[in-house]
Symmetry: C2
Subunit: 243 residues, 2 copies
């Protein structure tokens, strides 16, 4: 695969930020999530408000809580800074991290996997522009609002679940792999369930991070090691996040 | 509807606990969740390890974190005690609450609604015995593991989303309203998504609360008030948790 760092440097990102972004896009390609992969480089370049020099800020910090603001940086870099900060200074037990103005965030599984690789349990959700309407009709009320969970394992293979509430991703629509009308809550005759989760996440993040796309992360030290037991029970069954 | 308090007192619950349980069961009936309603009273009486006098304990408390243990009490009473404690002493900003040995937990939307009625944002998940297998086959690996989110609103009507990962509930199977083989991850051709969330929750709760059913709650003070805006956008569309 082509290394996108040169192109990212041309767009104006620093060498360190270009490396951070490249790692995310290349990992998405390797995991088959092409709509979050290299095609996003030119998409970033075309974002009307792109400011490659902007930096996220830690605006509040207390035991068990942090609040970050994207400060105009792309959401990838905000989540990268948040992950770096959690790994450098893990919570005593658990911490809630709220990020406002945090978009785009890419593959949420990538970020929670980084935290689990560093020994932390993580649950992350993030909002995006409203594209999902109720299965009963009406206007779009929620983004595809994925929920991602990662849990470290003593066998070295964290469990990583990463689920968007859309039947397809907006990226699939951007790349032409799906029609816009396929971007509905997943679940068929149970689509009201994924719609409810998408709306719940939209309001949860909105109540903590304010208007516009944001993210909420819970990060904690594991007290138990349940993943190896699950893997032995699941012999022959692919678990979420495994390749 | 019959008031189940007398029967709950006969089973051995204190007057206060009988009132707590009765309120949960009657609320479930009013919201049409009959499989979590009055039928659960006799079901409770038949639980082989029922100890109506058992009390949950707060076993660890620090800024931003609490750990509770069910101590042999039914999960309803553990979650009731946790909600009471959050409302009596809300977090400075946010708090993660872990409950071990917390089963059965009933309708999670009921608990987060109580917190939102008291002005707090809440996200709650809980595990139950493994009943969901992968859509690809194999043994049951996860409970129906609902995720519930509630967000207070200045209009007095919180947004409450409460979604189980099962196509039907185990309660529906208990009451004969669904066949056991219908208890699969919801989503049809996208059922791997709800399965991934169920497994993610199973490991998240397992890593923080240990073996057996448990619960993880995030509770926070809202900094913004997004629900009225959603309601005005959603004119004519039923929102999650509304009747």
């Amino acid at each position: 695969m082509d290394d996108p760092r040169g192109r990212l440097r041309e767009i104006g990102f620093s060498e360190a930020d270009a490396a951070t972004l490249a790692d995310h896009f290349l990992d998405a390609e390797r995991r088959g999530k092409h709509s979050h992969g290299l095609s996003r480089v030119d998409w970033l370049a075309d974002l009307p408000e792109l400011d490659p020099a902007a930096r996220p800020d830690l605006v509040a910090s207390e035991p068990g809580y942090e609040r970050w603001d994207g400060g105009g940086a792309v959401g990838y870099l905000t989540l990268a800074a948040i992950c770096d900060a959690q790994l450098a200074d893990p919570p005593a037990t658990a911490r809630v991290v709220v990020a406002s103005r945090c978009f785009p965030t890419g593959v949420l599984g990538y970020w929670v996997r980084r935290l689990a690789d560093g020994g932390l349990v993580a649950a992350l959700t993030a909002t995006s522009p409203a594209r999902l309407a109720s299965p009963d009709g009406g206007p779009p009320l929620a983004g595809t609002n994925p929920i991602a969970i990662a849990v470290p394992s003593s066998d070295g293979r964290p469990l990583v679940a990463d689920v968007s509430m859309g039947r397809v991703t907006h990226g699939d629509v951007l790349t032409g792999d799906a029609a816009p009308e396929e971007l509905v809550p997943f679940g068929g005759d149970r689509a009201h369930k994924s719609f409810a989760l998408a709306v719940g996440v939209q309001m949860l993040v909105g109540a903590l991070a304010g208007e516009g796309p944001g993210a909420v992360l819970v990060v904690a030290r594991p007290e138990f090691d349940p993943v190896p037991g699950l893997r032995s029970l699941a012999t022959g069954v692919r678990l979420p996040g495994d390749r």
